[in-house]
Symmetry: C2
Subunit: 329 residues, 2 copies
């Protein structure tokens, strides 16, 4: 082990468009942040060569030497157990051995991968709103809905490494069709695209005038809906109420599974703040089995605004280093 030099891990967030990275120390301070274009249509090996070159350039540009203790990676459909990305929807690589291939470039240090929501959960536990919590649920609200569940102080990966897909629990078996063809999944209601679908449903259902009636489906974003709601737009407000009722109901189910201390939200939709959280909380409490009532905190990520994906990925690496240390005692 290198000593004397400051210790860092590398956090990498592989997304459909950008792959971001940075070097993060134990306190969660990130240096050397940068990114490359993912170019997911190119072969994975080309991507990897470009990524390693960029990382090493950023490392040299730091101006001082660091001890690189590990690498953590967040990526869609990533499997912690196998180290692979398995058929992600927004990358054309098929099934690739990310950890195996990257370990040829970085030998002798732990390299771990998991999906973005799990990485966010570990980031929150290590550096954010879930410090000192042993049982909580992380919900990421982007184009879809991702989740990471922590129980007994450990991320729940499940038997196959794919636990925590709360975006795909079923709200209504005859409900909205997902782009994957399945019916009634939570993320078709609760996500940036889900709330837009709700606005379109409500514009069909009710006669109320709304500024959102001036926008086409492709023009409208969740920011438009939030802005309209803040101006008192009836359709937009009702869309948040509708979203809150459905999310609240499914969170009540989630609580009956793992009884978390808190549920922590991250992502674009959380910018709506209490427009979202107030109805979620009200409906969740109403749907909760009584023994759970008034116990579960609903929190916004403490890492909002920071590069959470990179921080989360780095926390995954620190977590691995720390738990290996415990085993070797």
């Amino acid at each position: 082990m290198q000593t004397g030099m400051p210790e860092y891990v590398l956090g990498v967030d592989i997304g459909g468009t950008y792959t971001k990275y940075g070097f993060v120390n134990r306190e969660g301070n990130c240096i050397g942040e940068s990114y490359i274009l993912t170019h997911a249509d190119e072969p994975f090996t080309h991507f990897l060569v470009r990524l390693v070159q960029a990382i090493e350039e950023s490392r040299r540009a730091l101006g001082f030497e660091i001890a690189l203790r590990g690498i953590g990676i967040g990526a869609p459909n990533a499997n912690y157990y196998t180290g692979r990305i398995e058929k992600p929807a927004n990358l054309s690589w098929g099934d690739v051995d990310v950890v195996g291939q990257l370990s040829r470039h970085y030998r002798g240090i732990p390299i771990v991968i998991t999906n973005d929501a799990n990485a966010a959960a570990i980031g929150e536990m290590k550096f954010g709103a879930a410090r000192n919590m042993r049982d909580f649920i992380m919900i990421t609200l982007g184009t879809g809905l991702g989740s990471g569940i922590v129980a007994n102080g450990k991320l729940v990966y499940g038997h196959d490494g794919f636990a925590g897909e709360m975006g795909h629990v079923i709200v209504d078996p005859n409900g909205r069709m997902h782009s994957n063809g399945r019916r009634g999944a939570l993320e078709t209601y609760v996500s940036a695209s889900g709330i837009k679908r709700t606005v379109f449903y409500l514009m069909a259902e009710y006669p109320y005038e709304s500024e959102l009636r001036h926008l086409s489906y492709h023009e409208m974003t969740s920011e438009h809906i939030t802005a309209a709601a803040l101006r008192g737009d009836k359709i937009a407000l009702e869309a948040y109420e509708y979203t809150g009722r459905i999310l609240g109901m499914k969170l009540a189910d989630a609580v009956a599974h793992t009884s978390p201390e808190a549920i922590i939200f991250f992502g674009g939709l959380t910018k709506a703040g209490n427009l979202l959280l107030e109805p979620v909380k009200r409906h969740m409490e109403a749907y909760l089995f009584p023994i759970y009532r008034n116990k579960v905190k609903l929190l916004i990520s403490a890492l909002e605004g920071k590069n959470v994906a990179v921080l989360g990925a780095s926390a995954l690496a620190w977590n691995e280093i720390d738990s290996n240390m415990m085993v070797s005692f």
Copy 2:
């Protein structure tokens, strides 16, 4: 620690009518099994004195000395963290400190308590169908539906000790009323009483003749429904199909939370065997998010017919002893 003598723990199952107990060794062999009437209307302290007397009588009657290493207790609404039973529906004791009071009689050994379904899960992991599993869900199908969730090799107690109340996840927010006044909980559909309610719904909904039309609500049991289904009774068969669809849908949600290797069923309704498991499996697979398909085993408890509640409670004690040993290494 006593040595030389064979090592046993005491397993105790506190129920509304009977309290059963037995001495169980590491291999899951149970000796000195017996029971007392719970008399839940008497004060808890009276109950405890009768229980300790009965236990000590059974211990003397063994004919040889044992080293009592710990006590595990399964009871409704029992909280692992606090050692208490908190307002159980079928016991009039209110909130009682079971572990604290029992420890006055049995000093210097670990005494642990949890609810019956959690105890069954640990029993299955230690002695039954979940040996060597690190991620599974136990479902107990009695008058209600209980559950215990194991993730990363540990029972999920949750922040407050009450995790794993899958009987209270919501099937339909406008659905059946529970005796607690809540609407649409899973156990109002899937349990011995739930399937009877389904038969009554189906007899109202369809004109088909059925042998079940000769029985009153209070006469009918789930055994009648199973027997009728095995004779090809259309209403009874449809009741299992209906039950399987609802349970399958909610198990698909449970898989999206913790992605278990297996779901293990225990209790009266499992006597229906494939009448129940076949529709559950078929519907669960159809409702599952595709990455989980054809991975999750549905199993019947390997402890069926044995005194599972006592075995489970004893496994809880062995589990506690073993994990304390690991910590002290």
